[in-house]
Symmetry: C2
Subunit: 333 residues, 2 copies
Amino acid sequence: MEKYISLAHGDGGELSHRLIKDVFIEAFGDGNAALFDAAMITMTTHRIAVTTDSFVIKPIFFPGGSIGKLAVAGTVNDLAVSGANPAFLTCGFVIEEGFPISDLKRIVTDMADEAKKSGVTIVAGDTKVVERSSADGVFINTTGIGIYENTSGCSLEFEEGDAIIVSGTIGDHGIAVLAARGGLGITVPITSDCASLNKMLAEVFRSTDGVRIMRDPTRGGLATTLVEIAEDFHLTMKINEIDLPIREEVHGVCDILGFDPLYLANEGKAIIVVADREKEKVIDILREFPEGIDAVVIGSIIGKGKGQLLLETPLGSKRLLTRLSGTMFPRIC
Amino acid sequence: MEKYISLAHGDGGELSHRLIKDVFIEAFGDGNAALFDAAMITMTTHRIAVTTDSFVIKPIFFPGGSIGKLAVAGTVNDLAVSGANPAFLTCGFVIEEGFPISDLKRIVTDMADEAKKSGVTIVAGDTKVVERSSADGVFINTTGIGIYENTSGCSLEFEEGDAIIVSGTIGDHGIAVLAARGGLGITVPITSDCASLNKMLAEVFRSTDGVRIMRDPTRGGLATTLVEIAEDFHLTMKINEIDLPIREEVHGVCDILGFDPLYLANEGKAIIVVADREKEKVIDILREFPEGIDAVVIGSIIGKGKGQLLLETPLGSKRLLTRLSGTMFPRIC
């Protein structure tokens, strides 16, 4: 087989056919004959969730993951936080001419591994090739279909006093990827948190009907995601700076370089707003999983009517947080 | 609003929020609050079809369409040929920094128009921005979900004598796009056939249980798609050169520049293999639609066991056709 992707790998002819066979079917299996065409699926319920995400992360391999692992876990998590059970994925590749086929194989293997781990089936795919310099390496779109089973899901009905939980340390993915770019000028022993959270989150949904909303704080970080919730549902939310779980190394890099961990991307974390009475139960469940070992309550809903996110400092003063404004870092996912 | 896409439009913060509101929700409507997150869908059946396609066409605007129209019609057609009723679409954008927002609006409007025309709902989306020169303008992934209703669909059971029908002239899209690139050195009055075929094809499925298979001959053209069918189902297929519907202008360009219309891309055509007894009925139905006015029988299945596609010339000699081998033209869709 060739060593590098050529334009002919994307023209739908003989080389495309071989690429699909030798790389994609090799990794994903040929159980589904329609792997690279429309796939027929029989659902177990009538209620499904659908989400789509394109991944353009740079570099494509980083400590803790790759664009392939991320493309599966990212879409799995989007479904999981909605209360759906991730079931099916499609993947669409845009590849730059000259891209090493060995790298493509590594990426596709990561996708297959993560799909297996999270229990989703890759049912359809597509590959396009563009000329050298018309794309940067490889971009992957994954679209996911989830099934709503017998859980109550997110109620979207909030009360004053509801607790805000984050499932673990924030900013790990952002710092790990920046460090992998070599642009920080320092070496940091930080690994991306990139992981599929669906099994852990399903356990939370199964155990309580008190979940108001779940979200995954990816691009824009914890603060942007919470501002979105606050604005969408006209809530005043308060988080306590002292309770934020942040690794010492992440703190260190942020202090030196002037980043704010509240706005750094995460790829294996969930924000859970839950009835106050259920917060301990949810924390206990999260901590049973390696991905949730650092789960903590970071704040609460303190009012309704206005959409506001407040950060309370250790000295008791309050700061209004806004969405991320102006790019901290492009291509973080 | 800004005139050009900046990296901050892709970082998930304030500018991303405004781009979604001002461009995407403006065109697609805000009926679905989860437009840019996981969408919840209630299905009317348990059997669905799923397909995904990335579009990297160059130029993004061409006679007869745009990357936006194509991204909807292409995925709609992939579902329609499988016998499913296209119902839901997701869209994922990768946009180059500096891309004009006016062009993005035009593309998104084309998507909304084509979605309306074909009766599909856009339920989820995503936007990423990459640095200048890390992508060429805009790439769009669409993933489609179709519903199988009360039609028998494709039987995939073939018999000797089955007729091969093409729903209209071949090669129009390929030539129109090449001409739009300005690379042919000649002006050609050809418009792309880019169109959603779902209503026409649904009528065919409703009227007969004799459809063996339907496919849309896009990248790789009519010949590559037929070779795939022949190989996948171990059929000897024969098509007659004299019966191929090819516009005079397309013939002309192919003669001058040495292209083979059998390998040129189509974006509004279907190949239908149907029981011989049903072929007139199917042709009659196709011709009731503007997109099927030039539908004809071009050949038949003449044997089983081997996967072969033969082209019979007007003089009676037979030529074995293979898949497209080596790129004719990159980025045709």
